[in-house]
Amino acid sequence: MHTLSLKQLADGLRSKQFSSRELTQHYLKRIETHDPKLNSFITVTPEIALAQADAADARIKAGQAGPLTGVPIAQKDIFCTQGVRTSCASRMLDKFIAPYDATVVTKLHGEGGAVMLGKCNMDEFAMGSSNETSWYGPVKNPWDLTRVPGGSSGGSVAAVAALLAPVATATDTGGSIRQPAALTNLTGIKPTYGRVSRFGMIAFASSLDQGGVVARSAEDAAVVLQAMSGFDPRDSTSVERDVDDYLRDLNRPIDGLRIGLPKEYFAEGLEPAIRACVEQAVKQFEQLGAKIVEVSLPHAPLSVPTYYVVAPAEASSNLARFDGVRYGHRTESSRTLEELYKKSRGEGFGPEVQRRIMIGTYVLSHGYYDAYYLQAQKVRKLIYEDFRKVFEQCDVILGPTTTDVAFELNSKMDDPVAMYLNDIYTIAANLAGIPAMSLPCGFVGGLPVGMQLMGNFFEEARLLNVAHQYQQAQDWHRRSPAAFA
């Protein structure tokens, strides 16, 4: 059962080949057996899962099933789930039981009837690219347990890659869906900023954060994204615009599609073996009838410096809410209010979160605001303008997702800058707000390689169509790690 696509699972449930309860029990068993090796879940929720499965079975019996009814899903532990610990992988929220559901959770489990298996591990407050900053310990890559799965959605990808969940939600502020998807042979999509509600999604950098999904194919990703997307009056930056039908265009041929290759994404720093995989994919797209156009995103090399001003600035402001007073960790010993704040935050946040709060505080402080924050916002505009111009020349942009395959655990933890450079190809899409995805395109030394597709605003359907067409012609995405068969 755990190798079936979402469409096959929905068919199996509707034709009574198996019930949602049986399917859910099967996945819970797999989590129990395999997750101790991976640490991909912070909290497993078997009681909730089985209750939701029974409700789904009743809905299916009544002929009221949707495409996700009865299908198990893992939630990244950044989405608030009423009555269930929502930790954001931080000691700060270790005991936080969310008093409400995120809109994404309501849409998938309430309206959609999906079954929640549990809450996935992640980098603390989604700050990291290796899932090593989690208070609950690192997640291992199912393809090689000595390596990282990427981050920040490391638990989500490890769970799906190891077939412990059919799909998982994830979030992406600078690459946190796409980079881990690339390192674990998954298909992950970050939609246009404002497409998926941020209500109940714990904030990191509010002008960049966007929810999405990691799955084993573009088709599976399309099914879940369809259910997650839509206008939400509770999110002030949610877009009032109808959601496209992401499944309708999947089978459209891509004959005549113009694919732009930005020369900056194939420059120094890209491992030759990764480049070879992506170039091979380009050839396959040509065989499918696509036209290749060389394009340029001249300000792309400034994405990392821009991001490491904008994101920490917004984070330092967002994380000011954790004060040890209303919820979250509170220090045992404090004599004054100031000491209460300082000790609670010093104890509750890990080193990476503290670094980012300090950088953010610094770039926003008097005397540095213009040189750093204002300048970063101007360069952000230049990066956005680059994309606007390039989308006059091509329909989608293609490049590598990462410079290399998954790296070894503990190899970059003492060097924040080396860690930040993991997101060199993914950050620009967040700064501009455009949709982007990663999908498998080969292996190097037994480890997965991903390629990235970026589209114009609200062109998720086109990205999914292009990815699906590639996945009809190639089968990289069908491979799973042998140890978790």
Partner: protein
């Protein structure tokens, strides 16, 4: 761009973060290296460029001024570290 130990202590104070004295130098080194990368921004010619705060050119949406949420104070205070009579308790602020 390098941050001194004193600047790190000042920034940590502004952010209301207690950092251990033995961590200050370590943080100073790491934050300085991050700021070196950020320093590349100075190369960009941004004359006449309008700062971009947000990806969507949207006007803040307004809603009718009506009550939309029920009173859930008790739920929201249930996980507060210290409450009494519906109030959040903190150490004494006024002598």
């Amino acid at each position: 761009m390098s941050l001194s130990a004193e600047q790190v202590r000042q920034v940590a104070h502004l952010a209301r973060l207690e950092i251990q004295p033995e961590q200050v130098e370590h943080y100073a080194g790491q934050l300085s290296r991050i700021l070196d990368v950020v320093g590349q921004l100075a190369q960009a010619n941004t004359e006449g460029v309008t700062p971009m705060a947000h990806p969507l050119a949207m006007v803040q949406r307004l809603r009718p001024d009506v009550v939309t949420e029920p009173d859930r104070r008790a739920d929201y205070q249930a996980h507060a570290p210290s409450v009494q009579d519906g109030l959040f308790l903190v150490p004494k602020v006024i002598e």
